[in-house]
């Protein structure tokens, strides 16, 4: 029998799988990125339905409990995600400044011509 938590988690994963599939179909996502996300969510699906399975990777990694593998992987994944976001934001900030600078030069030249 599945617990309530498992049912909710399954629903959550299914919704996300449908969402990214739609995104992929609408050409808003590349094939590589799509497959990566599908793989991640499918793995999570397996873990939710068969939590006991996690003892296998735990063995390889020398961890005593299966959930530890999930927790560590999640933290690592979140860290990568945040790092990626940081880089993206930095890039956008840089681009905004470049834009604001270009506009300031352009407006100055326009004003000079008017004089």
């Amino acid at each position: 029998m599945l617990s309530l938590f498992q049912v909710l988690a399954l629903l959550f994963i299914l919704v996300l799988l449908v969402k990214i599939t739609l995104k992929f179909k609408n050409l808003k996502m590349g094939l590589g990125e799509y497959l990566l996300w599908v793989l991640i969510w499918l793995l999570l699906l397996i873990v939710v339905v068969f939590p006991a399975m996690t003892f296998i990777p735990a063995r390889w990694l020398g961890l005593s409990r299966g959930v530890d593998v999930v927790v560590y992987l999640s933290i690592g994944f979140l860290f990568l995600l945040v790092y990626n976001l940081y880089l993206k934001i930095e890039k956008i900030e840089f681009e905004i400044t470049t834009l604001v600078r270009k506009i300031s030069f352009k407006n100055f030249k326009l004003n000079e011509k008017k004089k």
């Binding site: 900030e93 604001v100 600078r101 506009i103």
Partner: protein, 225 residues
Amino acid sequence: MAEKNVWIVIPAFNEEATIKQVIKSLKKHGWRNIIVVDDGSVDNTPSIAEREDVIVLKHIINRGLGAALGTGIKAALDLGADIIVTFDADLQHKPEDVERLIKPIIQGRADVVIGSRFLNKEYLKGMPLSKKIGNIGLNIITYLLFGAKTSDSQSGMRAFSRKAAQTISIKTNRMEVSSEIIAEVARKKLKKAEIPIKAIYLRKGQSVWDGFKILGKLILKRLME
């Protein structure tokens, strides 16, 4: 030696109370090439500056000190500057110091000159204690994170040779730019000189909290690069 083409860059954010006097006093000391970068002020800073016969570049939104300096320096380079001086818009700097500031560059002794508030004990008297601590703290942080030594990492008064201005790359947008410049000078192995200046404290300026924001940004920058 031929007269050097010196340009003064003034970053200004909501400085309507002081910008006119800053420009006028610089002109009185013979500095005619002035670029004011209005950093998206919401007061009358740009219109006041525009009445003073200087170049006014206007950021349509506020992007911070680093962005404003970047804009001013790029414009000065485009205008053929040999030496570029950065000068605050809040009357903290004394125009008579500019002459001494650029001397090491003219004499070929330095590529970058920092106007340091910490070289003369007499000059330091007017600085509030919290700022003394904050500034010294950020000097230490700048050294620890970037290996760049200086007696005043947060000074707004600096001079760059044309070569230095072209070599230094400014990537940060806000107040952390001052430390970034010091770090760049060390990284690009430019010759640095420091001369004592006196800064005047009339109004609010940067808070202790702003200081911690600089600290946070510098640590992030170091970690991520």
